[in-house]
Each structure stands twice: as C-alpha cells, then as structure tokens.
C-alpha cells in the first residue's frame, strides 16, 4: 500500500475495510514511516499533513465503531466513542480544514453532533480540577508560563499534537452539570437502588435502525407536536402536565388534542429498511 492509496481509501470511506485489522495496521505503519521521513528532512508541512491523515483514519474507525455499538444496543459505549470523535474534531478543524470534506470528516463531525442530540443524557458529573503542575507532551518540560518551552498547546510539531500532561492536580469539587467540558460521566440514576440504565433510547435507536451503513446521510428537524393523551393515561388530571409547563394537566394540555411534546422529523438520504415504522413514540413511563 502507498500513501496515495491511503488518501484514496480515506476519501472513499471504506467502512468495511477499516474493520480489517491487517489493513488498518498496514495503513497506520505506513503513515508512521512517512511521518518519520518527513520529520527527518525537516518537512513540517508534510508531517502535519500525515498527522491529519492519521487523525482521519482514527476518526473514521471510531465512527464505524460507534455505529456498530448502536446497532448492537451498546448505547453508552457508543456515546463515549462519539465524545472521543468530538474532542478529536477540535484539533482536526484547526489544522486540517482543507481535507475536511475529502476525507468525510466534515460529514462525521456533523453526524456526531446530530447523534448526540438524540441521546437522552442530560446530566453529567463534572469535577473542578485545579491543575498544579503540567508537562509539555512534545519536549517533556514542565510548563513555565513566564518562560515557555516554545511549544504551543494545540499546535502540531513533528507531526504530533502538542498537549499538556497534568502531573499534579487537586479536585476542588464535583458537580452535576448540564453542559460539561467532557460528556463521558453520564449520570445513571438507579431505580429502587438497583444499578441499570433507565434511559429511553427510542430516538437514537430509530435513526440507527433506519441507516443501512454508517456513512449514509440523515438529518433531524426538531419541532413540537401534540402527542395522544392515551400515552399519558397514567397521569391524573390534577397532576403536573406531562408537557413540563408546570401547570396542572387539566389546566394545560388535557383540553387540547394532545400533550405538547418535542417532536423530531428524520429525513434519510438513503431509503430506510421497509420495516421501519413511519412514526414511533417514546416510552410513556420514561418520557415525562
């Protein structure tokens, strides 16, 4: 395999091929060797270009893995992989914008955001971390803000991303938040003291069922719609309205045609399987 071949494969997005460990290992070792050569002759631009390709390869692999996890019902695992792609995408956008569409990374990052929006997770555990000592991942020197080592965090040097390795830190507090820096720490409330996953994945499951391949396009339009009262038969007229308005059900949606709830329209670029229903509703017990 040659470098041009990797470029071609990245452009064609061969999701089935990236499952081939041997091919992936070959591509990775070829990129590593090419980067080594570029660094040896001081070609920083080429080394950076290869870093972009390496990142593209990883992001494509992760995207396929997340898709397969979702197909198999491993929602939280897929969520974490999508988060890793999102984080990788921050550096990608900064350095590789010109390759974005050629290697389908623009597509991946858009779809990652769309998939994340379908998940039911809303609360996360987040620490406030005081980072006391850090090291530069390029030169290994301890960070000195007044006399910097010269490597800027987030830049690429010799085909490697410059980061800060925290070597001493202190957790000041841990909070439950709705817009965390990292979204790995999902809160899983227990029911009756039993561990489990109480979330309703109807939305994300519906989309994944409708997709034949990970790189088939789709988009969601978020609106609101009246859901049939029959879904809320467990809610009494004097209970809070399931629409979340804070009013009584009897004074809010009960006299209307249905309960006003978020409504999502999904459009698939490739026709979904015939057995995909045209309408699905969230689990009533978990939707309120």
């Amino acid at each position: 395999m040659r470098l041009q071949e990797i470029d071609r494969l990245l452009g064609e997005v061969p999701s089935h091929l990236w499952r081939d460990c041997k091919l992936t290992a070959t591509a990775e070792s070829l990129l590593k060797a090419a980067k080594h050569e570029a660094v040896a002759v001081g070609d920083q631009l080429e080394a950076k270009r290869i870093w972009c390709w390496e990142s593209a390869l990883k992001m494509q692999q992760m995207f396929v893995a997340a898709f397969e996890d979702l197909k198999d019902g491993r929602h939280y695992g897929a969520w974490c992989t999508l988060e890793r792609i999102e984080i990788a995408g921050v550096s990608w956008r900064r350095h590789c914008e010109s390759d974005c569409e050629a290697h389908r990374i623009g597509f991946i990052l858009r779809q990652v955001g769309r998939l994340q929006a379908l998940f039911p997770y809303t609360h996360f555990i987040s620490p406030a971390l005081l980072e006391k000592r850090m090291k530069c991942t390029i030169c290994g020197k301890e960070i000195s803000v007044r006399n910097p080592c010269g490597h800027q965090k987030g830049e690429i040097y010799d085909g490697e991303l410059c980061l800060r390795e925290v070597v001493e830190s202190e957790v000041l507090e841990v909070s439950i938040v709705t817009n965390p820096v990292q979204k790995y720490s999902v809160v899983f409330p227990s029911e009756d003291g039993k561990k489990g996953d109480p979330y309703d994945y109807t939305l994300v499951d519906y989309v994944i069922r409708g997709l034949r391949r990970p790189f088939d396009g789709w988009k969601a339009t978020w609106t609101k719609a009246r859901h049939p009262h029959s879904l809320y038969s467990h809610v009494a007229a004097q209970d809070p309205c399931p629409c979340g308005s804070g009013k009584l059900y009897s004074d809010c949606c009960l006299p209307e045609k249905g309960v006003l709830r978020p409504h999502v329209m999904i459009e698939f670029d490739v026709p979904p399987p015939d057995d995909l229903p045209s309408v699905v509703l969230p689990s009533p017990r978990r939707s309120s």
């Binding site: 921050v90 550096s91 956008r93 900064r94 994340q116 929006a117 998940f119 997770y121 809303t122 987040s126 620490p127 406030a128 971390l129 005081l130 980072e131 006391k132 850090m134 960070i143 000195s144 803000v145 007044r146 006399n147 910097p148 800027q152 965090k153 987030g154 000041l172 507090e173 909070s175 938040v177 709705t178 817009n179 965390p180 820096v181 109807t202 939305l203 519906y206 339009t221 978020w222 609106t223 609101k224 719609a225 009246r226 859901h227 049939p228 879904l231 045609k257 249905g258 006003l260 709830r261 978020p262 409504h263 999502v264 329209m265 999904i266 045209s278 309408v279 699905v280 509703l281 969230p282």
Partner: protein, 202 residues
C-alpha cells in the same frame, strides 16, 4: 418520523439549552495595575518587573470555600502568548504570578472562560483585538455556539477611573460587544457610570 401528529411549531429545541442573549455589565472598579503588581502574593523580583506592564493577566482569587486559592482558566498560556506577540504596539503585557505558583482551573462547563485582564485604556484596541481573535479561533474549532465568559478591568480611562466590563454570551459577538462598551467609555469620558446590563443588538 418520531413523535405524534399535529406538528405545531418550529422551535429548534434540542437537548442543549443555549442562552442566546449576551449580557454585558459595566461597573466602576477599585482595581488598578499598581494594586496587582504590588501584590504580596508575588516575589519582590516579580513585583519590580511587573511595574512596567500596561496589561496584566491577573488570577481569579477564591473558589467556593477555598478563599485562598489563586488560579487561571484554561487557555491563559495562549492568551499571554498572543498578547506578547503584539508587544511593540505600545503594549507591555505580563502575567501576575510567579512561575511556581501558576495553576489552572479546569471548570465544568463547555464554554470559553477568558483569563481576567487589567489594562490601561490606551491599549484597549490591541487587547480587544487579541481577545476577539482568540474567541474566533476557539469558536471555529469547537462550535459556532461557543459561549464566552470574560472579565476585564480598564484602568486610567478618560475620567481617570477604573471600569470593569463583564461579558457572558456567545463568542460570535464578544469582540464587538467589548469594542462598543469601550468606545462608549471613551466618548462619554465616563468611569462613574452605574452598573447596568446591556443586550447588544446583533
């Protein structure tokens, strides 16, 4: 299609709750460059060197019950580098901390919290340009909906006083909002304006 029938509105609701309206608060301040550069938390050598600066990145002091903790937000290194790269345009930028005391606080929210800067009115166009460029770069790398929280103190304004400007809103209008506030301070020559909130037009 998901959900029931009778679509009613197009609200673009998503899981993320995003407050669109930026808030800009302008208020008088007692802070000065001298106050920070003479801080007892600094070594005598550093105190001497900071006396030349007309723009200082200063620490946030106190977090919850930890009143003693002094910290800088993530991205401070980058901000200092950007300010120092503009040296020579009247700007002398520095950071108000000894090396061994520098520490960053990694906060919860997915937002850009700028380090606090205290600077002379005369260099505000340079400082605001740097802040604008930084917010723009982070916004393009992360998300167009990136939120910025920032606090700056402008000293030696035309009225001779210090003014604190606090911003909390979208990165997209951050630079313009600061510019408008500072132009307003210059035109009116005021530093005594009472604290108020504004919602910039764009």
């Amino acid at each position: 299609m998901l959900g029931g029938a009778d679509q009613e509105s197009d609200t673009n609701d998503t899981i993320a709750d995003w407050r669109e309206k930026p808030v800009l608060a302008v208020r008088d301040s007692e802070e000065t460059l001298e106050m920070w550069s003479r801080s007892e938390a600094l070594s005598p050598k550093l105190r001497n060197s900071l006396s030349q600066a007309n723009a200082l990145i200063v620490p946030f002091v106190g977090y919850g019950e930890r009143e003693d903790v002094r910290y800088f937000p993530e991205g401070t290194e980058e901000l200092l580098h950007a300010l120092r790269s503009r040296a020579g345009e009247k700007l002398i930028a520095d950071i108000c901390v000894d090396d061994e005391d520098y520490q960053e606080l990694d906060l919860h929210a997915d937002e850009l919290r700028m380090a606090k800067i205290v600077f002379d009115y005369v260099v505000w166009p340079i400082v605001v340009n740097v802040l604008h460029d930084l917010a723009k770069r982070w916004r393009s790398a992360r998300t167009s909906r990136l939120r910025v929280k920032s606090k700056i103190v402008v000293t030696r304004t035309p009225s001779g006083r210090s003014v604190e400007i606090e911003y909390d809103g979208p990165a997209s209008v951050y630079g313009d909002s600061l510019r408008r506030a500072l132009e307003g301070i210059g035109e009116k020559g005021e530093g005594t304006r009472p604290e108020h909130d504004e919602t910039p037009g764009d």
